[in-house]
Structure formats: C-alpha cells, structure tokens
C-alpha cells in the first residue's frame, strides 16, 4: 500500500490538515496500523464470524 497517498487522500476527504511537523509521526503510526491490519487479514474468517459489537435498542423511558 502507498501509505503517503492514502494519508493524503483520506486527510483531504476528512478535512484534516497534516503539517510538516506532524507528517513523520503520522506516517510512522499509520504504517504501524497497516502492519496490524496485515496481521488481522492473515486470520481466515467466514461470513459467520460476526463483529464483537452488539447494538442495544433503546427503550422509550431511556430516550432523550
């Protein structure tokens, strides 16, 4: 993956400005996240492997 291109494109899409001072750190940490993503991709999953998050519907008396 071309991290610099991804960082530039995503930052522009989100309205984030990455300064020259910030860029080396941002590139280092994005590369670390990419390493973690590669590890995660290495585990075979099936469509039955659902995310570990569950949405709880909100009862009327708890609403705002």
């Amino acid at each position: 993956m071309d991290h610099a291109a991804t960082i530039n494109a995503t930052a522009a899409t989100l309205g984030l400005k990455i300064t020259a001072e910030q860029r080396p750190g941002v590139e280092m940490y994005f590369a670390l996240a990419a390493q973690m993503a590669a590890l995660l991709d290495g585990l075979p999953l099936t469509p039955a492997d659902e995310p570990g998050t569950v949405f709880h519907p909100v009862a009327p008396e708890v609403g705002e």
Partner: protein, 467 residues
C-alpha cells in the same frame, strides 16, 4: 484507631461506623498526606478539600453512618470521571474549555452513597492514550517507589496515589491495560472487571467498545469492598450489562480451594522479561500449578485491540484534530491523526477477529477456572525511556507496556493484578504485577485467588517508604 492516610479502606470504614474515628479526621489525614507528598509524585490534578470536608461532616452526621460500607474512606478518581462543577479534563488541555460537569459520574455517586469521600482528581495520559503518564500538559506522574521511574498509565495518578499512601482507594479506566499496567509498576492491587460490569456513565471515553472502569487499592479486601459498592446496571451506558449485583467481599476466604489454575504460555511468556516470568512462576508455585494454557492467535488479538482503539479513538477526536491539533499532547497527537485515517474495513475486521478470539478463549475455560500471566513485560522503566529489548527485538518502550494486557481486555475478561516484589535483581525495590484472569462475570474467582496469595504473603501493596 489509625486516622492516618496509611490505613486501609476497610479499617477506616470500620472505625467511622463504630464511632472510634471521625470521617473528617480520616479525610483531613488524606489531604495532609497529599499536601506533603504530591510535590514529588504529581498524582493529583485537582484536590477538592472544601467539598471533601463538607461531605465528611455529612457522613459523620448521617443516621446511616453505622451501615455505610465505605464510611469516611477518602478516594480519588482519574480525571476522566465527571466531578460536578469541574471540566472533565481526560488529561487534555483541550477539555479545559469544556462545560463543567453538572453531576458526578455514576461510580463516584455509588461510592459516596456508601460513605466514601472524594478528595480529588488524578493525572493520566492524554485521553487515556498511553501506558506511562508522561503528560506534557500536567507533567509526569512519578512512581512512588522510585521517583525517577514512570508510574505506568494511562491511570498513572490512580496507582501512584494509592502507592504513595495519599488515599486508600482510587478509580481508573482500562481500555488496553490502563489499570493493570500502572498497578503492576506502582505495586498496588487493581481490578479490571468484565466488560459491561460497571457503568461508565459520566466518564470520558477512549474506545467505547473496549473501555472498562475499576478500582485500585492496597488490599484485596478493599478492592472487593469498592467493587461490590459500584456494581449494578445503569441504562445510560449502552454497554453496561443488565446483571444483578454479585457481591464478592464475603467470598474471599474461600481462596483458590477447588479451582483449576493454568499459566498462559506462548505470547505471554515470550513477551515477558526474566522478572516478569519469575513473578508468574512464583505465583504458579504458590498455587501448586504446572498446567500450561495456550490461547490461539494472541498476537492477532492484540492487533485487534490495537486497531479497534485506532478506529474508535481517532474518530472520537476528529473535530478537535481538524480544528486544534496543535493543542493535543505531542505524545498523542500524531497517533490520533494517523488513527483518524485508518480504513473502516480494517476496524471492522478487527472487531470480527476479536469475536473469533473470544469464542476460542471461552472454550479454554472449560478445563481451567483461572489463568495467570504477567501484567507488564518488566518493572518500571525510567521516565523518558524510549526503547526496550524484548524477545530479541528492539521495541518502543511506551507501547510495549501493554503487550500482555491488551489480548485480555480485548475480549473483556475480568482480571485482578497482584503486586510481587524483589524479582528484578537490578532493582529489587520495584514491584511487578501478575494478572489473575477468569471467565466473564467471574470476578469472584480472580479476587479469591488474589486474596489467597495476599494471605500467603506472596503479594502485598505497601506504601512507598521515604516520601
């Protein structure tokens, strides 16, 4: 009756209940100790003397005093808990501009309903993103057992305040290890309950699908006392389980009797330095176990916790990253910026791997009740340490402090961290923690095993001498 700050919570509460100690005296002793020591430790970011003494007087005058489980016990909370009238800083400069909290966090209210007295707010890594509490805005919190070393984090102030004898009880949060890491490095007991056990209402989030809250104390009995007082559902926290209160304090004397105990192998041993391995082996010996338990794909589970934290943490701060990135702590800013950029597919994959891992680990608890592992790879490094040599690799010191805690909190298991001493020959004055882990909702088992180890004299949480 010892009115001093060095008394345990249970002892103070017993004295206030039977009238041999005034809550005001217990609270004043805590305030005096904070004044005398915090210049060296830097655990507190706010001391609430007026509020505390007023509440202490109310406890002394209360007709319920004799029934209050935490009567007159001074406590303090990580500064991501709401305190009425104060902006909830979460370790940041940015939140100084936030509207003051209108009421206390739920857990603060629950402790105070049992007679405990809030005396202040505690230092932390900015937005809970770190394992060292080297906070640029508020200064580093120093380890009370060696002031040149880190306290751990992100709940560094919470551990240090207990280790310094400033208060017998504190609260912190744990997303990837932020209770267990500072408990290990400062030599206190710490409890990270099951995910969803304690409500987080009125606390500043980090990564909502991983955030836990829990107590620090100098004894297992105090840990259980506080934990029991905080249990119970709260509908305002969507992740809080609708479970009945399951008290633990009365179960501690059962110890490890009848429990099947294993030692986590693989990742949990390869990422531990000799002092951490020695601590685990000493606990295993005391519990009479040689059974090795291997969880599958631990490195990927740690990656899942890392990635979920990236996605949720980055998105949470997006507005401030757009408008005032320069106001973040330089230690967190570039990480949050990078995290805001990670693709959704990476984060969703992490949530699926997390669930995959949880299902496999759940099966392992069919053959054991409790497993143990080191809480940190090593004893506390010096403040400013950048690199560690671990498993033959040069590793970033700050991130590496959570290597052994992240795979456990990733799947929400309950853990008690217990402190052992004298296992690092180069620094025998330093503690290191061992995690006691059980299946979901079995905090009672973690606490029972911890209580036995404490009773055997294997682990303890003394106040740091010489402050």
């Amino acid at each position: 009756m010892n009115a001093g700050n060095l008394a345990m919570a249970g002892s103070i509460a017993a004295g206030v209940r039977d009238g041999s100690l005034h809550a005001r005296n217990a609270v004043q002793a805590s305030l005096d100790r904070i004044a005398a020591t915090d210049g060296k430790v830097n655990a507190f970011t706010a001391v609430l003397a007026e509020r505390a003494l007023k509440h202490a007087d109310a406890v002394d005058a209360s007709p319920r005093r004799a029934r209050m489980k935490l009567a007159g016990v001074p406590f303090a909370v990580k500064n991501l808990f709401d305190i009425a009238g104060l902006a909830t800083l979460a370790g940041s400069k940015i939140e100084r501009d936030a509207r003051p909290a209108s009421r206390d966090a739920v857990l603060v209210r629950r402790l105070e309903a049992e007679g405990a007295v809030l005396v202040g707010a505690l230092n932390m890594d900015e937005y809970a993103y770190g394992f060292t509490t080297e906070n640029t805005h508020y200064g580093a919190t120093h380890n009370p057992h060696d002031l040149a070393r880190i306290s751990g984090g992100s709940s560094g102030g919470s551990a240090a305040a207990v280790a310094a004898g400033q208060v017998p009880l504190t609260l912190g949060s744990d997303t990837n290890g932020s209770i267990r890491v500072p408990a290990s490095l400062c030599g206190t007991f710490g409890l990270k309950p099951t995910f969803g056990r304690l409500p987080r209402t009125g606390s500043y989030p980090f990564a909502a699908s991983l955030d836990h809250l829990g107590p620090f104390a100098r004894s297992v009995a105090d840990l259980a006392l506080a934990y029991d007082a905080m249990q119970g559902p709260d509908v305002q926290d969507p992740s809080c389980a609708q479970r009945d209160i399951e008290t633990t304090a009365g179960l501690l004397t059962r110890g490890a009797e009848g429990l099947r105990i294993g030692v986590l192998g693989g990742w949990f041993r390869s990422k531990a330095m000799p002092e951490a391995l020695a601590a685990v082996d000493r606990v295993a010996g005391a519990l009479g176990t040689t059974r090795l338990v291997e969880w599958p794909e631990v490195e990927r589970a740690r990656a899942a916790a890392f990635m979920v934290t990236c996605g949720e943490g980055g998105a949470l701060h997006l507005d401030d990253l757009r408008q005032r990135a320069h106001d973040f702590d330089p230690k967190t800013r570039d990480r949050f910026l990078a995290n805001a950029l990670v693709p959704a597919a990476w984060v969703m994959r992490a949530q699926r791997v997390r669930h995959w891992f949880a299902r496999r680990v759940a099966r392992s608890f069919e053959t054991v009740d409790v497993v143990i592992a080191a809480a940190t790879p090593c004893t506390a490094p010096g403040i400013g340490t950048e690199w560690l040599e671990l498993d033959g690799q040069k590793m970033p010191a700050r991130a590496s402090m959570g290597l052994l805690t992240q795979p456990v909190s990733c799947i929400g298991l309950p853990v008690v961290s217990v402190p052992l001493w004298g296992l690092n020959p180069a620094a025998p004055h330093l503690p290191i923690g061992v995690q006691i882990v059980a299946a979901p909702w079995r905090e009672d088992l973690c606490l029972r095993v911890a209580a036995q180890l404490e009773q055997q004299g294997l682990c303890s949480a003394p106040v740091a001498p010489g402050l």
